[in-house]
C-alpha cells in the first residue's frame, strides 16, 4: 500500500512514469542494503541508522541489522502516544467499528466482568456466556447509555438540590419572622361542641364574659400590690443591681476621689487606736511623691489578691520603717516590694505578675523591630560612606583627566624629550675629552661630522678620507657662504693650527644666535630650548632638525615614521653614534633646510601637531570614560 502511494506521489511530483518511480523506490532500499553491507552502517536523515550487529550466540556467526531511530522520529512517536493517552476515553473501546476490526483482548475483559455481575441477578447469562462479541457490545452500549443518562440525571438532580439549598434559606427566614400561630388541638369534644346548638353557644358565651370580668378585677388590683412591694424594697433593689453590674476600667478612675475621701476619713478615724505608741510620736507627714492609694487599690483589684494587703504598702505606712533597715528603701526582709531610685521616683515590683508568652512575644517583636532599625541605620551609614568614597575617587579621576594636558605640559616629560636631554648631556661629556685627550680628537670629530647612518663607515675613517673631503670644502669656501664655513673649520683642526678657527666661527655663531631668539649655540649645533631640538649643520651647509636620540635603531625609525605621519613630506634619517661609556645612540634627524629659521618653523609645526594629537587622544579617552 505504502509503496503504491509513494510511487504515485513521486511520479506525480517529478513527472515520471510509474515504472521509473518504482525503479527509484526499489533502488533506494537496494542502495541502503548495499551501503549497510559495504560500510556496516547506513545513516539516513530523519529516519535513523541501520547498523550491522554480529549475533555471537549462533555458531554461524551471522550478521543482523539493528535500527537506531533518530531523536526526531522518537519524539514524534512519543508525542503521538501522549496525545492518545490524553484522548483516551472508555467509550472508545465500545465503538463497534473498532470491535469488528480489532477484537483486542484487553478491552473485552472489563466487559465480561460487568456482564457477569449482572448475570447473578438476571437470567440472561446464557446469551453472554456464548462468547458472541456483538451481543456483548450491544449490551454494553445500553449499559453505558444508561450510565450516561444516570449521570446526567444525577447532575441535574444535584443542580436542583443546590438551587433549592440556595433558595430555601430565604423561605425559612420568612417563616421565622412570621409569629407562630397556635392552633388548638382538634379533639372529639371540640367537634361535638361545634355541632351543638345555639343554646350551648350562648351558655359558653356567658361563662366567658364572667371569666373576663374576674380577670379585669384582678388586673385592677395589681398596681396596688406593686406599689406596696415597691415601698417595702426601695433600698434593697439598687444595691443588688450595683453588685451585679461589673465595673469597667474607666469606673475605677471615677471612683478614685470617693475612695480617697473614704480612705482619708478612715485614716483620720483609725490612726490613733491601731498604731503603737512609739510610732505615734513620729507621725510622718504625707509626702507628695507617694503612690496614691487609689493606684494601690487598683493594683490589688488587677492582681485579684486582696488578702496580701501589707505587701504593697506605701511609704505612708510606718511599718515599713519599723521592719526595714532604716534606709527607707524597703524593710530588708524581701517582702516589701517598694523601691526608691536616685531621682526619688518610685516603682512597684509586681511580684505576682509573672511573664506570659504573650509578653515575651511582644518583647521579641519589639526587639526585632529595634534590631531591624539598627541594622538599617548601619547599612545606610555604610552605603553613605561607600557612595561618598566612590564619588570622591571619581571626581579626583575626572579632575585628573580634565587637567591632564596641563599636568603633561608642566610635570610630565615624555621619553623622547628625556632622550634629547640625554643628548645634551652627551655633548657636555664630549666636551671634556676634546680638551684633555688629544688622541681621541679623531673620534670626537667623527661624531661631530654629523652624517647620516649610511655614511657611518666613511665617518669612522675620516682620517683616511681627509684629502677627499678637502676638495669640496675648499670649493664651498670659494662660494663664500658664511653659514657653511663651519665644516671647513672642523677639518683643519687636525691638520692646521687652531688659531684660525675662532676667528671664523665667532661671527657665524653671533649672527645666528642673535638673529633667532630662543636658539643658543652649543658644540653640537644650535639648541632650541622651547621646541627642545637641535639644529645641526650638515657638510653641504644645510641645517637639519635633530629631534631625538634613541637606544636602538628600531625606536629611532619608529619615531621617524611617526613624525612622517604628522608632517607628510618631511624626510628623516638615523645617525648612529658611539659615545664610549654611554653606549651607542641613534639620532633621529629630519629634513634639510637652508636656514635655521626654516628649521625652527618646521620644528614648531611638529611640536604643535604633536600637542594637538595628544590633546585629542586625551579628550577621546575622557569622553569614552
Amino acid at each position: 500500500m505504502i509503496k503504491q502511494e509513494i510511487i504515485e506521489k513521486i511520479s506525480k511530483y517529478f513527472k515520471l512514469t510509474s515504472f521509473e518511480a518504482e525503479k527509484i523506490y526499489d533502488d533506494i532500499f537496494a542502495g541502503i542494503i548495499q551501503g549497510v553491507k559495504e560500510d556496516n552502517i547506513a545513516d539516513i536523515t530523519n529516519l535513523g541508522e541501520f547498523i550491522i550487529k554480529y549475533n555471537n550466540s549462533d555458531n554461524d556467526n551471522k550478521k543482523t541489522v539493528e535500527f537506531l531511530p533518530t531523536l526526531s522520529l522518537e519524539e514524534e512517536i512519543n508525542q503521538r502516544s501522549f496525545e492518545e493517552q490524553r484522548q483516551f476515553e472508555p467509550a472508545n473501546y465500545v465503538n463497534p467499528e473498532q470491535s469488528t476490526f480489532k477484537p483486542v483482548e484487553e478491552p473485552v475483559k472489563p466487559v465480561e466482568e460487568t456482564v457477569n455481575t449482572e448475570a447473578i441477578n438476571t437470567e440472561q447469562t446464557a446469551d453472554v456466556n456464548l462468547g458472541n462479541d456483538f451481543v456483548v457490545d450491544d449490551k454494553l452500549e445500553h449499559e453505558l447509555s444508561d450510565e450516561k443518562h444516570s449521570v446526567e440525571d444525577e447532575i441535574k438532580r444535584k443542580r436542583d438540590e443546590i438551587l433549592s439549598k440556595i433558595t430555601t434559606p430565604k423561605v425559612e427566614q420568612k417563616n421565622i419572622t412570621v409569629p407562630p400561630v397556635v392552633i388548638p388541638p382538634v379533639t372529639e369534644e371540640t367537634t361535638k361542641v361545634v355541632i351543638e346548638t345555639k343554646e350551648h353557644i350562648e351558655e359558653k358565651a356567658g361563662e366567658i364574659t364572667a371569666v373576663t370580668e374576674q380577670t379585669i378585677e384582678e388586673i385592677k388590683e395589681v398596681p396596688e400590690k406593686i406599689s406596696e412591694i415597691i415601698t417595702d424594697n426601695t433600698i434593697e433593689q439598687p444595691k443588688e443591681v450595683e453588685e451585679v453590674t461589673e465595673k469597667s476600667f474607666s469606673d475605677f478612675f471615677t471612683e478614685v476621689p470617693k475612695e480617697e475621701h473614704s480612705f482619708s476619713n478612715s485614716m483620720n478615724k483609725t490612726v490613733i487606736p491601731p498604731v503603737p505608741p512609739v510610732v505615734e510620736s513620729t507621725v510622718i507627714p504625707p509626702v507628695e511623691n507617694v503612690i496614691p492609694p487609689s493606684a494601690v487599690e487598683l493594683h490589688k483589684e488587677i492582681t485579684g489578691d486582696n488578702s496580701r494587703i501589707n505587701e504593697y504598702q506605701t511609704t505612708i505606712n510606718p511599718l515599713a520603717y519599723a521592719n526595714g533597715n532604716g534606709n527607707g528603701n524597703g524593710n530588708g526582709n524581701g517582702e516589701n516590694f517598694e523601691h526608691r531610685l536616685q531621682d526619688n521616683s518610685y516603682y512597684i515590683w509586681y511580684k505576682d505578675s509573672e511573664p506570659n508568652n504573650t509578653d515575651t512575644q511582644t518583647m521579641s517583636y519589639e526587639y526585632e523591630l529595634l534590631y531591624q532599625a539598627t541594622k538599617e541605620a548601619e547599612y545606610k551609614s555604610k552605603l553613605r560612606i561607600y557612595v561618598t568614597t566612590f564619588i570622591m575617587f571619581f571626581s579626583f579621576v575626572l579632575i585628573l583627566l580634565i587637567f591632564s594636558p596641563f599636568i603633561y605640559k608642566y610635570f610630565f616629560t615624555p621619553k623622547e624629550e628625556q632622550n634629547t636631554e640625554e643628548v645634551q648631556k652627551e655633548t657636555s661629556s664630549n666636551e671634556q675629552p676634546q680638551n684633555t685627550d688629544p688622541n681621541n680628537q679623531a673620534s670626537v670629530n667623527s661624531l661631530d661630522n654629523q652624517q647620516p647612518v649610511n655614511n657611518n663607515t666613511a665617518n669612522q675613517n675620516n682620517t683616511t678620507t681627509q684629502p677627499v673631503q678637502e676638495q669640496p670644502k675648499q670649493e664651498t669656501s670659494a662660494q663664500q657662504q658664511p653659514v657653511q664655513e663651519q665644516p671647513k673649520q672642523e677639518q683643519p683642526k687636525q691638520e692646521q693650527p687652531k688659531q684660525e678657527q675662532p676667528k671664523q666661527e665667532q661671527p657665524v655663531q653671533q649672527n645666528t644666535s642673535q638673529n633667532i631668539p630662543g636658539v643658543t649655540k652649543s658644540t653640537m649645533g644650535w639648541m632650541d630650548d622651547y621646541n627642545k631640538v637641535i639644529y645641526v649643520q650638515l657638510e653641504n651647509g644645510k641645517f637639519t632638525i635633530q629631534e631625538s636620540a634613541w637606544d636602538s635603531d628600531a625606536k629611532a625609525n619608529k619615531r621617524i615614521s611617526a613624525v612622517g605621519g604628522l608632517i607628510p613630506g618631511l624626510k628623516g634619517s638615523v645617525l648612529k653614534v658611539d659615545l664610549g661609556n654611554k653606549g651607542t645612540w641613534f639620532r633621529a634627524r629630519f629634513g634639510e633646510f637652508s636656514t635655521i629659521e626654516e628649521a625652527k618653523q618646521k620644528a614648531e609645526e611638529l611640536r604643535t601637531k604633536e600637542k594637538n594629537r595628544l590633546q585629542a587622544l586625551l579628550l577621546a579617552f575622557f569622553w569614552y570614560a
Partner: protein, 91 residues
Amino acid sequence: MNTIDLINKLAVNHNITTGRAEMIVSILVERLVEKLKKDGEIMINNFGTFSIRRKEPDSSSYMKLNEPLPVVKNHVTFYPDRIFLENINSQ
C-alpha cells in the same frame, strides 16, 4: 554510508539531478514516518518491517524515590527481511 551518498547514487543511476534525488528521498522518509505514526507498523518488501513498541518504565525505582512516574515511551524497532539478511551475510 550516508544520505548524501545515497542521493548521489540515485542521481547517477537514473540521470536525475541531486536536488530531485534529495527530494525523492525526503518524500519517501516523510511518508514512511507518517505511515508508521498512523498505523504503528510498516512492512517494506525485501527490506524489513518497522514497528512501534511500547516500553513501560521500571516503576520500582521511582516508587522508592517517591517521584512521579515517567510517561510511557514508544520505541521503533526494525526487523530485517530474509532477503536483506541473506544479502548481508553473503560474501
